[in-house]
């Protein structure tokens, strides 16, 4: 505790101009990240670069692996050995990581994966922004699995959501994906670090003696305590579907409760996981639902619309997965029209339409030309639909 206090004092009493990627590093270090494995890729490379300089100074380890598959493997290994760990990548690398992200889901290994979204598919547009990985963050790895994905739109949020990503991963024993877009990752804004303190959550360890420890036992929260390797609790970790002891099983009566448990640990904690911000939606005729850099354009458009007498509002969603159904349903009920602007062909709008029970008309703005959606484009759409 004392060490943290000193660290806070040393680093965090000045205003700084930070890039999104740098703010992610600051957040990660504050959250206690002590292991980073990565592979260079635009536009996420700055995270690796800064980590390589900062981690060794706090007795952490940075390693540049041979590819993103290896990076994700090393991150899981380090987490099992007790280090809070993270990797950062962009589209193509995120695709390579998917297999091991699934491993982290089934073996319930806490870790944080930053994906700075760039234009795709494939190599796509390395230096341009996009928001095309929304569905990949949910369903990228095969099989039914729980998912947590957060999306910041300001530098302050890059910092805070990284801390929260670590907290969520430790608390729910699930990989947490942090979705940045190229605009947010490379943008610089002023930030005062550590001015409001976010509590740090560390994984719950077993309190029973090793011979009583059942590593994947169900609990009221659905989250079993986690022992680190080398602490005397010798247990088996596998990517095979396993029983409560961690041993591979093919018994239907063991498989079903396991899969349902790892879903339940997320679904019964929606209120804790879902972060968002409503801006003038209470009386809005037209509401915009946006995330990432587009949420910033949307806010400008909403202010402009209000100035011209149009009752517009904005729901900014920071938690992409689990989808913020309750908040979105509320906006759908109170507004006549809902606009979902996004830099893809319609990924979150699909979810909005899915939960819409005919309450509002849902319109989309889909921009895939590598440039950010401007306030004018959203404003024009607001004027069109109302």
């Amino acid at each position: 505790m004392k060490r943290r206090e000193e660290y806070v004092k040393k680093r965090f009493n000045k205003e700084k101009l930070l890039q999104g990627n740098e703010a992610v590093v600051e957040g990660a270090l504050y959250a206690g990240c002590r292991f980073f494995a990565g592979y260079p890729i635009t536009p996420a490379t700055e995270i690796s670069e800064v980590m390589s300089q900062r981690l060794p100074a706090v007795d952490g380890t940075f390693i540049q692996m041979e590819d993103e598959i290896a990076s994700m493997g090393a991150v899981i290994g380090a987490s099992l050995a007790g280090a809070k760990s993270m990797t950062a990548t962009s589209g193509p690398g995120f695709s390579l990581m998917q297999e091991n992200i699934g491993y982290a889901c089934i073996a319930e290994v806490p870790c944080v994966v930053v994906n700075v979204m760039r234009g795709g598919p494939s190599t796509g547009l390395p230096t341009s922004p996009a928001q095309g990985d929304i569905m990949q963050a949910r369903w990228g790895t095969h099989g039914d699995h729980p998912a947590i994905a957060l999306c910041p739109s300001t530098i302050r949020e890059c910092y805070e959501l990284t801390i929260k990503a670590f907290n969520f991963s430790e608390k729910y024993r699930n990989p947490v994906i942090l979705l940045l877009d190229e605009v947010v990752a490379h943008m610089r804004e002023k930030i005062t670090l550590g001015d409001d303190r976010i509590d740090i959550f560390n994984r719950v360890k077993p309190t029973v003696p090793p011979e009583w420890y059942i590593p994947y036992e169900d609990t009221p929260f659905g989250i079993p305590p986690m022992a680190n390797f080398g602490e005397g609790y010798r247990y088996h970790v596998t990517g095979l579907t396993h029983d409560v002891r961690g041993f591979p099983t093919s018994r239907p009566d063991e498989i079903d409760p396991f899969i349902r448990r790892i879903f339940r640990k997320i679904s019964q904690n929606f209120s804790d996981l879902q972060i968002g911000e409503s801006f003038m939606t209470e009386d809005a005729d037209v509401s915009v639902i946006a995330y990432g850099c587009v949420a910033r354009s949307a806010k400008r458009a909403v202010i402009d619309a209000r100035e011209r007498g149009i009752k517009a509002g904005l729901l900014k969603i920071n938690t992409i997965w689990p989808f913020m159904r309750i908040q979105v349903e509320k906006v759908l009920k109170t507004s006549h029209c809902v606009i979902v602007p996004e830099m893809n062909m319609g990924q979150i709008s699909r979810e909005v339409k899915r939960v819409n029970k005919g309450d509002a008309k849902v319109f989309t703005i889909n921009k895939v030309d590598s440039t950010i959606i401007t306030p004018t484009e959203i404003f024009n759409r607001i004027r069109e639909v109302c």
Binding site: E15, L17, R188, C293, S297, P375
Partner: protein
């Protein structure tokens, strides 16, 4: 968007535009205490290709972080000047590196040969961006000379402080000179074209 001040620094990769953007944002944001958002766009080339950095300044939190209508455009080559001058507000200021920009599309333009000054006086083309920052601090109300100097010295590599301080001052004195020559008004701009 009344209180926004939008700046675009443009040119080609390797001219140090992104570093300029960072220094400018730091000077305005940290040393002058305003809200800033700095963004950039660049191609895959580390040298060459087109590059731009944008700084948005405001006295309240900034929503849209990219430049909209420009209050200041710095063009370090002809192409960026041609591409972006249309984005200037009617009151916006164009500042060009006259080493590379020969054709000035609008009358409200300051022409300073940043790169030639860097080459002739400092034997280092790479300080052209710092010279330009000096000029910006003198010619615009958006950043103070004091703040820009503090920001430059905090960002540049150790051992190059004197070089950069001198470059900054060279920029300021070049700016003082061009400021005396009144900006071209539309009428004398035409005259100028005739001659």
């Amino acid at each position: 968007m009344g209180n926004r001040y939008d700046i675009r620094l443009s040119g080609s990769g390797g001219q140090g535009l992104i570093l300029m953007g960072i220094i400018l944002a730091e000077a305005i944001g940290i040393y002058d205490g305003k809200f800033v958002a700095q963004t950039q766009s660049y191609g895959p080339e580390a040298r060459g290709g087109s590059s731009k950095a944008e700084v948005v300044v405001s006295d309240q939190e900034i929503d849209y972080p990219k430049a909209l209508r420009l209050d200041l455009l710095l063009a370090m080559n002809q192409k960026s000047c041609d591409d972006y001058y249309m984005d200037l507000k009617p009151t916006g200021v164009l500042l060009v590196d006259s080493t590379f920009v020969n054709q000035i599309p609008i009358p409200r333009a300051y022409q300073i040969p940043f790169t030639r000054i860097a080459r002739d006086r400092f034997k280092k083309e790479m300080v052209a961006n710092i010279i330009a920052l000096g000029a910006i601090s003198w010619l615009t109300p958006i950043v103070s000379v004091k703040a820009i100097e503090a920001a430059v010295l905090a960002r540049v590599p150790r051992g190059t402080e004197n070089l950069n301080r001198n470059a900054l001052r060279a920029g300021i004195s070049a700016a003082k000179k061009v400021e005396k020559t009144t900006l071209l008004t539309p009428s004398n701009f035409l005259e100028n074209e005739d001659t």
